[in-house]
């Protein structure tokens, strides 16, 4: 069994784009796990989507052997964490599996919103944080300024932080050495009953669920009877092992302090929730590790196949994605406008986008997505409370006592010149100002309490466009508040289009209704009759636009009896119609359903 004093379990935390994955690659390369040629750029982000978007979606881990300057060999377990606020819970579980964290800060940009959020998260888990200044090769790099910033803002000793370029490899050796020196070794009890933390899992069609664990105490090996303490699921271990670069390498056992995986013919990732504790079913530990919580989706939307015949394909695809992503929720729903589809729940908007892109790319599905909705609490006059995830299901107003909506604490880091526009934006989105702190002369953190439903539409886009890309955002859910909410319905040719209904605050309903109507007028092609587009609250019409009737659409001369050509023209026209959704007598293009999500015109 490996001596725990030779093990280092750590993660790398950073704001998006500050070079986390590049540093991870460099570490793997330097320790000779793979030759440079074998390295595909950014080993740890192994989904195409992750590489393209430069984000980590799933936690990944890798074991590296490092020979330090003192001549000792160390085992480094590097756990890569998702870098986005949507996946905060996963981040937090990954951190719990570590003993220390490398904080990567961009030498040109300095501290950003997610730098802070991630550092606080790491400190919450009692991790030793090792700051590293990256991108010193950039002409705009100011490592000394950033070091002072780290000391002033975070309060971390940073004068001897390695100044590196993960891109060129410069000084990466310093980081490797610092890991051995400054990150503490694990100190579990090898003789205690098994206690291991699940920090992630993936589904493999041959082995079933592969559970990523950090063994705190005890030991696990093939044949160990295990129990998941939160779900109560029991089984017997088939294989244990550790993480090679992009592959799973079986070994005899995983002892206290080790990071690795186990398989046990588990069919469903839901049985192995991230954050749960694995123990020996024969001699269980006294209590589970702290901090397990069931993650619940925060954002919901309807997803429908563009071609109704592919409903089954969509269901199969969602099923497969869920195997690897327990936080993805879906259930069948029906829309008058869109037919059969699914109401899907996500951790946040990015999660939603990622799932949508994966469905479209990996499963070749063409989707129509309805406006995202948060979970509203509807207090009914009969005293019951319902969680509303689909605006269509809102009870009759006469049955509603009042409604509550979720709020978030948002931290927006912004250069001072954009404070005005960003405050305006937050004000427009019903933000409650909580305070502002200057990080340095030119940058500040704005703190707002914002309704979640105001940031799930196009808040990120608006934030970026109003700060020329400089503002960064971090938020966390902070509870529910009573709010004057109304359901805004859209009527096309006097018929309510269920897929376009949404919940909005009374004060912004008029504006939003007007913009929706304008947008739909652009998107709905003229048809054989005039089409009124109306926004309504209950029976009250608050906005109206009209799509004028098509007046002229006649086939020209039929020269020499070339009927085939004429038929092709008609077929083309008919083909265009197929991409439309029939609502009453009106054909609505599928993209109209999604175009209404982007209404910010600033």
């Amino acid at each position: 069994m490996t001596d725990q004093s030779r093990i280092r379990n750590f993660c790398i935390i950073a704001h998006i784009d500050h070079g986390k994955s590049t540093l991870a690659d460099r570490i793997i390369e330097k320790t000779g796990l793979l030759t440079e040629r074998e390295m595909q750029a950014q080993i740890l982000d192994n989904m195409d989507l992750e590489r393209e978007r430069g984000i980590t979606i799933k936690s990944q881990a890798v074991r590296i052997v490092y020979k330090a300057r003192n001549g000792e060999e160390y085992i480094y377990n590097l756990i890569d964490t998702p870098g986005h606020v949507d996946f905060n819970y996963e981040v937090s579980r990954s951190l719990a599996a570590c003993d220390g964290a490398i904080l990567v800060v961009d030498a040109a940009q300095g501290i950003e919103a997610q730098t802070l959020a991630n550092v606080y998260l790491a400190l919450d888990h009692d991790l030793d944080v090792l700051p590293v200044i990256n991108k010193i090769d950039l002409p705009s790099a100011q490592p000394e300024r950033v070091i002072n910033e780290i000391e002033d803002v975070i309060g971390l000793e940073a004068q001897d932080a390695p100044r590196i370029s993960a891109k060129t490899g410069e000084n990466v050796d310093e980081v490797l050495e610092a890991i051995a020196e400054r990150i503490p070794a694990p100190n579990g009890d090898p003789d205690a009953p098994l206690k291991a933390l699940i920090f992630d899992s993936v589904y493999d069609s041959y082995k079933g669920v592969i559970v990523f664990i950090r063994v705190m105490d005890g030991v696990v090996r093939k044949g160990t009877p295990i129990r998941m303490m939160a779900t109560g699921f029991t089984t017997e271990v088939v294989e244990v092992g550790y993480f090679g670069a992009g592959q799973f390498i079986p070994c005899d056992e995983l002892g206290a302090g080790m990071v690795g995986y186990l398989t046990a013919s588990i069919k469903n990732v839901r049985d192995t929730r991230v954050g749960d504790t694995v123990t020996n079913d024969a001699s269980p530990c006294a209590e589970a590790l702290p901090g397990y919580k069931k993650v619940n989706p925060m954002v919901y939307c309807g997803m429908y196949p563009a071609d109704g015949a592919r409903y089954g394909d969509l269901r199969d695809a969602l099923e497969k994605l869920q195997l690897n992503d327990a936080s993805l929720f879906y259930e069948p729903e029906t829309s008058v406008a869109l037919g059969f589809g699914f109401r899907c729940g996500f951790l946040g908007l990015l999660h939603l986008e990622i799932i949508q892109e994966r469905l479209e790319r990996e499963y070749n599905l063409d989707l129509v997505t309805t406006a995202p909705s948060v979970i509203y609490k509807v207090h009914k006059t009969d005293g019951t409370v319902i969680d509303l995830t689909n605006p269509t299901n809102l009870p009759d107003p006469s049955e509603i006592e009042y409604m509550e909506e979720p709020l978030v604490n948002a931290e927006i880091m912004v250069t001072t010149e954009f404070i005005g526009p960003i405050m305006d934006l937050c004000q427009e989105r019903r933000g409650q100002y909580q305070g502002m702190e200057y990080i340095e002369e030119t940058r500040a953190v704005l703190r707002y309490k914002l309704p979640l439903n105001e940031i799930i539409y196009d808040f990120f886009d608006a934030l970026k466009s109003r700060s020329r890309g400089y503002a960064s955002l971090d938020y966390e859910l902070c509870g529910y508040e009573r709010s004057e909410l109304v359901k805004l319905d859209i009527l096309v040719n006097k018929e309510e289009v269920d897929a376009l209904s949404f919940i909005v605050h009374g004060a912004t309903a008029y504006e939003r209704g007007r913009k929706m109507c304008e947008k739909l007028k652009e998107e709905i092609p003229r048809q054989l009759f005039e089409i009124p587009i109306q926004a309504a609250i209950g029976s009250k019409i608050i906005a109206r636009e009209t799509v004028k009737a098509l007046r002229k659409d006649v086939l020209a001369k039929c020269y020499g009896g070339d009927i085939t050509r004429k038929k092709k023209l008609l077929e083309k026209q008919k083909e265009g119609k197929k991409r439309m959704r029939q609502v009453g007598n009106v054909e609505i293009p599928q993209k109209a359903f999604m175009s209404v999500l982007k209404l910010d015109d600033n």
Binding site: R551, K552, G560, L570, N585
Partner: protein, 386 residues
């Protein structure tokens, strides 16, 4: 499939030559030397004689279209007509049309056409306004048309069509009304009035044209029926108006899905429920049918550009979208006779939808486009595809 052998047949002959291509034209046509014309005509004659489809069948109409077939002299055209008469049984009462452009006809040519049995002339005028003719790239002015017109009448053509065009860039509704009245006053038996369609690949497609807006075009279309009505013309098809008894039988044949054989470059045929289109490549055409074209298998040699066997749904769709072009619409009874099931069984919901919108109507067991329906007929017809 019903045996069509005893039904009469129509013949279309394509002459892909003209003096000069017009700015809007996307048909197979272009200027050519007389020797090249004669090479083509020999191949054409050979196709008529040797294609063997429908040999001996009775022919109710012949349409010589183009291009500008009237660039051909009587001498050039005669062997083609002879080939038709010797291969098929052209009925004595058959309608035999040739398309002509002003400025390409003289007394001698007209007389020769008459002698070979051509009894209908379709003259492409397009507009009575010289500036618009110029804009379209036409080779003639209005004056030239009038001379040709008088000549045709003098030579005994008593069944004449004049082709007109509206929605021309820069054309005002008043221009169009004036053209209609000017031409109607000459009293041709038949007037075709098409709206200009800017086709890709034509010179017009690359130009920034001041096309009339939709409402103007709508008004021009309405003016057409109204003004021509005043002069005794009845609209019988989306773009065609005629005095009683002079509707173009050949074109009606297309809308009624009569069998027809098309000869020549790019010509289309409907024969035994298969639609064909001849090759559009002149070299291929002359290889297949030319002098030294001893081609063992013409089909593999590229005789056809397209061969489309029609399924029953195809035929039903055609029955509808072609039939609806005529103002009398389609007959439910005829549909049932041809397809063995009631029209409503196949198209009930579509018909109901457009009837409720006032775009289709039912009269005496026939389904037809209403006046508002004609304007958006494309959209409606597309719904009849199965």
């Amino acid at each position: 499939m019903k045996d069509s052998g005893d039904q009469t047949l129509e013949i279309y002959i394509h002459i892909p030559f003209c003096i000069k291509k017009c700015a809007y034209c996307d048909f197979l046509s272009g200027p050519a030397s007389v020797s090249r014309q004669n090479l083509y005509l020999r191949a054409l004659t050979r196709e008529i004689r040797e294609r063997k489809d429908g040999t001996g069948r009775r022919v109710s109409s012949v349409f010589i279209g183009g291009g500008t077939p009237s660039v051909l002299s009587g001498e050039q055209l005669l062997p083609v007509m002879e080939a038709v008469r010797e291969t098929f049984t052209v009925l004595p009462e058959a309608e035999i049309t040739i398309e002509a452009n002003p400025g390409t006809l003289d007394r001698e040519k007209l007389a020769a056409y008459r002698r070979m049995g051509i009894n209908r002339l379709s003259i492409g005028l397009q507009s009575a306004k010289d500036d618009l003719l110029k804009k379209l790239g036409r080779i003639h002015d209005y004056e030239t048309f009038v001379k040709t017109w008088l000549l045709a009448r003098e030579e005994g053509f008593r069944n004449c069509n004049v082709d007109l065009m509206f929605a021309i860039p820069g054309q005002s509704p008043e221009d169009w009304q004036a053209t209609l009245r000017t031409v109607a006053a000459l009293s041709p038996e038949h007037i075709s009035a098409y709206s200009l369609i800017v086709e890709p690949g034509t010179p017009f497609a690359g130009m920034d044209l001041a096309l009339p807006d939709e409402d103007t075009e709508y008004a021009m279309y309405e003016d057409t029926a109204r003004i021509l009505g005043e002069y005794g013309y009845r609209q019988y098809e989306i773009s065609n108006y005629a005095r009683d008894g002079f509707a173009c039988r050949h074109n009606i044949g297309y809308w009624q899905r009569k069998e027809y054989l098309g000869f020549g470059l790019g010509a289309a045929s409907l024969f035994k429920e298969v639609r064909y289109r001849n090759t559009v490549d002149p070299d291929t055409y002359s290889r297949v049918w030319g002098e030294d074209g001893a081609v063992p298998d013409r089909r593999t040699a590229g005789q056809y550009e397209e061969v489309t066997p029609l399924t029953e749904p195809d035929r039903m769709a055609e029955f509808m979208f072609l039939g609806l072009r005529m103002t009398e619409g389609v007959s439910g009874q005829a549909f049932e006779q041809q397809f063995g099931k009631p029209l409503t069984a196949v198209y009930g919901p579509v018909i109901d939808k457009y009837r409720s919108l006032g775009l289709l109507a039912e009269e005496n067991g026939r389904i037809l486009l209403t006046r508002p329906g004609i304007h958006v007929s494309n959209t409606i017809m597309a719904d009849f595809l199965l």
